[in-house]
Symmetry: C2
Amino acid sequence: MPDFNPENSVGIVSPQTMHFEEPLALDCGRSLKDYHLTYESYGSLNKNRDNAILICHALSSDHHVAGYNSPDDKKPGWWETCIGPGKPIDSDRFFIVCSNNLGGCKGSTGPSSVDPETNKPYGPDFPIVTVKDWVRSQEVFRQKLGIKQWFAIVGGSLGGMQVIQWSIDYPDRLKHALVIAAAPKLSAQNIAFNEVARQAIMSDPDFHKGNYYAHNVSPKRGLMLARMLGHITYLSDDAMRQKFGRDMREGKINFGFDVNFEVESYLRYQGNAFVDRFDANTYLLMTKALDYFDPAADYNNSLAQAFKHVRARFLVISFTSDWRFSPARSKEIVKGLLDNYKPVTYVEIEANQGHDAFLMPIDDYIEIFSTYMNTIANEDGL
Amino acid sequence: MPDFNPENSVGIVSPQTMHFEEPLALDCGRSLKDYHLTYESYGSLNKNRDNAILICHALSSDHHVAGYNSPDDKKPGWWETCIGPGKPIDSDRFFIVCSNNLGGCKGSTGPSSVDPETNKPYGPDFPIVTVKDWVRSQEVFRQKLGIKQWFAIVGGSLGGMQVIQWSIDYPDRLKHALVIAAAPKLSAQNIAFNEVARQAIMSDPDFHKGNYYAHNVSPKRGLMLARMLGHITYLSDDAMRQKFGRDMREGKINFGFDVNFEVESYLRYQGNAFVDRFDANTYLLMTKALDYFDPAADYNNSLAQAFKHVRARFLVISFTSDWRFSPARSKEIVKGLLDNYKPVTYVEIEANQGHDAFLMPIDDYIEIFSTYMNTIANEDGL
């Protein structure tokens, strides 16, 4: 990650919060009476209000997509590689918005927020939210922002799924859909990994059935395991080989259970760092949203039918070594669109970084992403 | 799995135990003063004592390879598919032996055994054993059995690695080596999965630093997670799709954290069943043995050099959908042998069952395995 470099960044940014007092009906049958969304925005909305881009974030990330929240920040937002002046999503050209999803733990209403009815954190009583619910809440958000139509909605991984859902549920509200490293639904293997992560969290004695806030603890061991496991699926076997190989911390086998191989050290570090910045109940909700995502289910299990009324133009990007959501899964999305003669550009990037590639400064990826964005912006005279 | 069917099985078998009073020097620098190996055998040793086959077992299995320990047994041994009368390893023709590895929990000396020096279970004081240690212990076992040379040593997965180690360490003691669904060493990703499994066990509050026996508990939650995770790596994505797809237990989304998808139910069942029959300290040891296995490390990191003095003839079998130890990994073994002009037959079986394929009745596999065994037996007039 680059250091603080305001020349090449949106610079210092502050999150904002928008409050919603109209109840939001949720897929589970319940509704949220009162909620807020925390978001960041970069660049300026133009006079015609037609240069707005919505970014949808992935499982464990948030609204802080680019720039720094203070000059002391060690790290910029999670998509600094792709968002900023002169970058693929150019903040000199677009008004860029990203909101933390409902159920999140970075400002938007979620399980760690106080339930106004009980004056205690929602905890396990927070409803299980779906990608559709997120899109529904963002549609209200769009109205309040006074944006008639998003120029584009863009997301990677779970965020890419959210883009798909937007294009189906509110076809008139976005002109372009950019779906990166995503899939039209999880496979049994994807669900299996999520289930192990959930069991790790829920079987941690500090979980207290989700009411751990009241006990002043959190299921750190479980969340750490969930994160370690996640990291294995974010990297390719190849990337791990290049990054760690079988290198050993002390150069030799230690015949013990302390860290021996570098890859163990990496995973423990990643796991430990995560538990201090993420809420376990949110992690559970996000994995459920992933598992449940299946837009075709509402359309006789036909993705082609689901895409029938889509109006957005699509760019679908996949990465060769991504085994979490492989290129074959992206092609299912492409096929669903082509079955309806919908305009779609598909790009498969040669990259050995695995699923995480979508966050990385890979030349071909950045160039294609930039060219595509410039082309569609030029077409509209933005 | 077939039901009790003595017509097609070695039938009722009983494990035996062999005691060793000579100390066994271990790779870690320590030694076991006193130990025993539990084993089973099927078929009869012929007059020339040259029809003996040693089976090496995988991570979580044991010496009970074939047949039933009582007529009430619900399930036969773990390789019933391949071992028995008229099967690839024909008990009418061969004397077949399999011992539970040292460090195990099914009879051989391991962490749950009583340490004669303290009169308490070894627990975490049991030395970390390696594949080389297992081979060393089995070499003493061979001598006590009075077998000059194994006709063949055969194993799948971790067992296949043990076969490789035998062929390198005691080249004169085996005529044939059959290495199935194995690899010459673990990849960083393989180690990463093992590390998550270990952390799951060791972070369970019931682990008590490995001394859980004294507390009359066991780290069941952690061991269950480890097993669930293991199962994901044993099955292919394809096999999971065919087995479970996105089928739901109650036919619909339940908006809760109870079992929803069939694959969740399967994993929880497998995890729960395992904790009652396996010792967590043994699981830790077995994963370490896997991580440490790297015969080339003793030979300038050259597998070709490691194989230089090998005398066994090899059959190497891999399965197309095995992503734990993929065909590419088996080919590394083959290449190491070919670099030395050693005789090796390599077969890649088209199968979508993933790593577990080596345990399954796949027609091509069984036929090739049988033909190979019959051919080499005929050559020797067995």
